[in-house]
């Protein structure tokens, strides 16, 4: 039987406020355990939450960016359950009146685009961390993370493959960074994805029973976990079994998912409006102000890159897919407005390849946009050829200095002296009569042989354009 996969994602984006959502404690990652937990975060008797207004603006920003309906009156609820890293015995979240209502976002996969619906996005506080392997008989609890603001973004079940799910997740990931509401750091847990996965016979309207996959902390794992789950469900159904509604934990090391809790074991969270917090009222003035302050969004930037710099649709799309990359490009272009295509090629080519090879993020690249800009400049002004530039790039990556320093130190300056090149060309033509004859009899390909010889003789420094012209002229 042919199966169709149905995926919906729940993304938890940690909002990058300095203080917590309901207390004044700091949110910085990696601090000494429990050093960033104040009386409110500890859930001491008598303490009360006070909403950090910044989270409201950040959530509204997101909502506006996905064309969502903003609930200008929204309500915080208590989600009640017991766990040691949940100090109050309830999590403050939003159930019936989330701050962001229905919206949508467009994703691109190869040549096709698709609109994914966003069901809602709501504000909530994060829990602390339970550390089970620190002591033999105890679980350690670190409440630094307790009360960190989260925006939970829930998609409609619109994705039909793991690849689509990843494309959607990446798109949201880029968007929250564009909006500067989340740092997007997946290793530190600032951006987490849970996937609801089900399958159904192709053509069937009704959705199959879904499993919720948790603990996925990279896009690579997201794709793997979903594919793994789809296979598992197919095996079950094809053997005549039934998929259980449950929450499954993805184990990246063992590359497997395992059951965490079934529907029957699921908590009754006894939600009710938090009486300690008044409903949030967002004024029209604030809405207008946030709208005005919205930064340029990816699709707008893409259109501008095409119009302003003449980039291809594909290049513009790749460059704007991640904010750091778009920023890098825009920095390079400041001194290289005439070589936009060249800048784009270098970012998408050498730079991306090197980053991949060394498993680095763009922000950690050893070559800054200004450095690379200079290198591209030297190609543009014919100081070096593109081929030599690759060697310079390598040296720059290894920290041997700026483009100019390396060109100077290694004597890589392109040979554009017509006389010198002519002498070399003449010598090569004189020494290779058979090849000359071939060219003259119509074998155009043999021109490469002469170029190669000339480059060899000049250690690659001959201006290729000049060389080509001269060879053609002399071989005629």
């Amino acid at each position: 039987m042919e199966w169709e996969t149905v995926i919906g994602l729940e993304i938890h984006a940690q909002l990058n406020t300095k203080s917590k959502i309901f207390s004044a404690a700091a949110t910085q990652y990696g601090a000494e355990p429990n050093s960033q937990a104040c009386a409110v975060d500890l859930g001491l008797p008598g303490v009360l939450p006070v909403l950090n207004k910044e989270v409201v603006s950040k959530a509204v920003k997101f909502g506006l960016a996905v064309d969502a309906h903003i609930n200008q009156r929204n309500v915080f609820d208590r989600k009640n359950y017991f766990y040691p890293d949940l100090p109050k015995g309830y999590q403050i979240s939003q159930l019936d009146w989330p701050i962001v209502g229905e919206g949508e976002i467009e994703i691109t996969l190869g040549d096709t685009t698709k609109v994914v619906g966003i069901t809602r996005a709501h504000l909530e506080e994060d829990a602390g961390k339970s550390i089970h392997d620190l002591y033999d008989d105890y679980t350690a609890v670190d409440l630094n993370r307790a009360g960190t603001p989260l925006l939970e973004i829930v998609s409609d079940p619109d994705m039909r493959s793991a690849k689509e799910a990843v494309a959607y997740a990446k798109k949201i990931h880029a968007l929250v960074q564009y909006l500067e509401i989340c740092d997007g750091n997946m290793q530190e847990g600032s951006f987490r994805c849970d996937a609801n996965v089900s399958i159904r016979p192709m053509g069937q309207e009704e959705l199959g029973t879904r499993a919720e996959l948790k603990n996925i902390n990279s896009f690579k794992f997201l794709e793997r976990a979903i594919n793994l789950e789809v296979e598992r469900q197919q095996d079950i159904l094809e053997e005549g079994g039934k998929v259980a509604q449950e929450t499954r934990l993805y184990d990246a090391v063992k590359h497997e998912t395992r059951s965490m809790r079934s529907k029957e074991e699921a908590n009754d969270y006894r939600y009710f409006p938090d009486p300690d917090l008044l409903p949030v009222e967002i004024s029209d003035e604030l809405m207008a102000q946030i709208k005005q302050e919205l930064p340029e969004l990816p699709q707008e930037k893409k259109a501008r890159f095409i119009a302003e710099f003449g980039l291809s649709e594909y290049d513009a799309d790749v460059l704007t897919s991640q904010k750091p990359m778009a920023d890098y490009f825009e920095k390079m272009i400041v001194n290289n407005a005439d070589h936009a295509k060249l800048c784009a090629n270098w970012i998408m080519g050498e730079l991306s390849a090197s980053l991949n090879k060394h498993q680095l993020e763009l922000v950690d690249a050893p070559i800054t946009a200004d450095d690379l800009s200079l290198l591209v400049n030297r190609i543009g002004d014919d100081t070096i050829s593109g081929k030599i530039a690759k060697d310079v790039f390598k040296a720059m990556w290894d920290g041997e200095g700026s483009a100019d320093e390396i060109i100077e130190a290694q004597g890589l300056k392109q040979m554009s002296d017509t006389g010198a090149i002519e002498a070399i060309v003449d010598e090569i033509i004189a020494n290779n009569a058979p090849q000359v004859a071939q060219f003259k009899s119509g074998n155009e390909k043999i021109l490469g042989f002469f170029v190669g010889q000339a480059m060899k003789a000049t250690q690659g420094k001959a201006n290729p354009k000049l060389l080509n012209e001269m060879l053609r002229a002399k071989l005629k």
Partner: protein
């Protein structure tokens, strides 16, 4: 007159004129507390009090004291007090030394008041007789076989027993007014949002409100001046300026329209209590007020509504008491569930557990609409009744409690106990200010008159109460042996 019969206003004069020092005054009260067997206090903070008294005397000597500088008081043990045990009357918090001050505690400290100790109370403010305290029953100073009322029973007994010039209380369903009535003192529950709830251990967040318990309305005004005010740490506190609540105490109440809700004089009300209440109303008529019957038809649903809303909120509010970070933890838990189960089973008393279970049940999937949502709707209707009534009258009067103080141990059925709050719950559900003032005696026990005002009408209520106290002397009565 013995010093401990003096009102705050009188003590303040004595302190500033140098008739006695705060240290002497504080010692006098500490001696009385130590000699008392009312069990009004959970913790007596002798050393702490004497330090505060000394500091107050220094300020008075320098002439930089305020009107309340050096006045001792009893603080209900529901308010967090930095460095002092804050138990909320529960075994659960018997080992809890608060590391911070509640906003109310802070404000009282700022006014140079002297905390004598932490007053006994029903566990987590759940109770109407103060028989639900882990620290034992509190006795009514008028008759030690009787209950003092609850949940601020220790506070009321301390003021009536002259163990403190005033006490703080909290009122979720009548917990200031009912014990004030049963102990013959003046108690004020302000409008919801007038006094910060920060650091006040929450029972039912949407109903809890702190207020003063004093001998006189004038004293209540003086203390409310300190307690009231917007607090940025409490999102439900009102961003509203604090008036000087003593400013209009002496205004004439001629022309005042009093509303008597017929529902407050129905079946279950003790005849003698009713006649004392009516006598007080007559007194107001003699002072130039007119009386009108009003109707609060939905007040009949106050008890069921309250006993859904309050347990729902408390079932969640008390979840933080899990034995993990502070408070009682059972011995040798075998796993996490055992830790939760036994810590909470052993740490909470019967009534608290009952309300947690009622609340958890009412909030459960499938029951939420029928209970919690329905209760919220009824709550709204109860508020609407008052809104209508206050279009016609300035103040609503009636009994506080259907009976005078009953015998300790005599009411065993929880539902019968809940009926003790029948006249006080509506004001909490609507968020309105309410008072209890002494209005006579029945069966040799105090009877209180309840005043319920419109939102933010504390000044008016205090004015009405003060004028009554200028004409009557019920509020000056003290148990004979004192």
């Amino acid at each position: 007159m013995s010093i401990h019969h003096k009102t705050i206003a009188q003590l303040s004069q004595g302190l500033s004129s140098g008739e006695f020092s705060s240290v002497e005054l504080t010692q006098h009260y500490l001696d009385r507390i130590n000699a008392s067997d009312l069990n009004a206090f959970i913790t007596v903070t002798d050393e702490f009090a004497m330090k505060q008294a000394q500091a107050a005397d220094d300020k008075i000597a320098k002439g930089v004291g305020g009107i309340l500088t050096g006045i001792p008081y009893a603080h209900k043990d529901i308010f967090c007090t930095n460095g002092v045990k804050t138990s909320a009357g529960s075994k659960m918090l018997d080992n809890f030394i608060s590391p911070y001050d509640a906003t109310v505690s802070h404000k009282l400290n700022q006014a140079d008041l002297v905390m004598l100790g932490k007053a006994n109370m029903d566990e987590f403010a759940m109770g109407s007789s103060n028989e639900n305290s882990y620290y034992g029953d509190v006795k009514n100073p008028w008759n030690v076989d009787k209950i003092p009322g609850g949940s601020s029973g220790g506070s009321a007994a301390a003021v009536a027993g002259r163990l403190a010039p005033f006490a703080t209380g909290t009122d979720t369903g009548g917990s200031i007014r009912q014990p004030s009535s049963l102990c013959g003192i003046t108690g004020l529950k302000p409008t919801y949002g007038r006094v910060s709830r920060y650091g006040m251990i929450a029972y039912a967040s949407s109903l809890d409100q702190a207020g003063p318990m004093t001998q006189t309305a004038e004293d209540a005004a003086l203390v409310l001046n300190v307690m009231a005010g917007f607090d940025e740490k409490d999102s439900t506190s009102a961003e509203r300026d604090v008036e000087d609540y003593t400013a209009s105490l002496n205004d004439s109440i001629k022309g005042l329209t009093i509303g008597l809700p017929k529902e407050f004089f129905s079946e279950g009300l003790d005849d003698e209590v009713a006649s004392q209440v009516m006598a007080a109303v007559k007194e107001f008529e003699a002072m130039g007020a007119t009386v009108k019957e009003v109707s609060l038809p939905n007040s009949a649903y106050a008890i069921p509504t309250y006993y859904i809303v309050a347990p729902c909120e408390c079932s969640s509010n008390l979840s933080r008491l899990d034995g993990v970070r502070y408070g009682y933890r059972c011995e040798d838990p075998k796993d996490l569930e055992d830790l939760y189960l036994r810590s909470r089973s052993e740490g909470f008393g019967e009534e608290v557990k009952r309300r947690i279970m009622i609340g958890a049940y009412a909030l459960s999937a499938g029951y939420y609409d029928a209970y919690y949502l329905k209760a919220q709707k009824t709550r709204h209707l109860i508020s609407e009744d008052f809104k209508k009534a206050f279009k016609e009258v300035d103040v609503i009067m009636g009994p506080v409690s259907p009976t005078t103080a009953f015998d300790l141990g005599s009411v065993k059925d929880p539902v019968s106990m809940y009926l003790a709050d029948i006249y006080t719950l509506s004001a909490n559900l609507a968020g309105l200010p309410g008072m209890s003032i002494p209005a006579g005696f029945a069966q040799k026990l105090p009877v209180g008159l309840q005043l319920i005002g419109n939102y933010w009408s504390e000044s008016k209520l205090l004015n009405i109460a003060h004028q009554f106290q200028q004409q009557t002397d019920w509020h000056t009565q003290a148990p004979q042996e004192l």
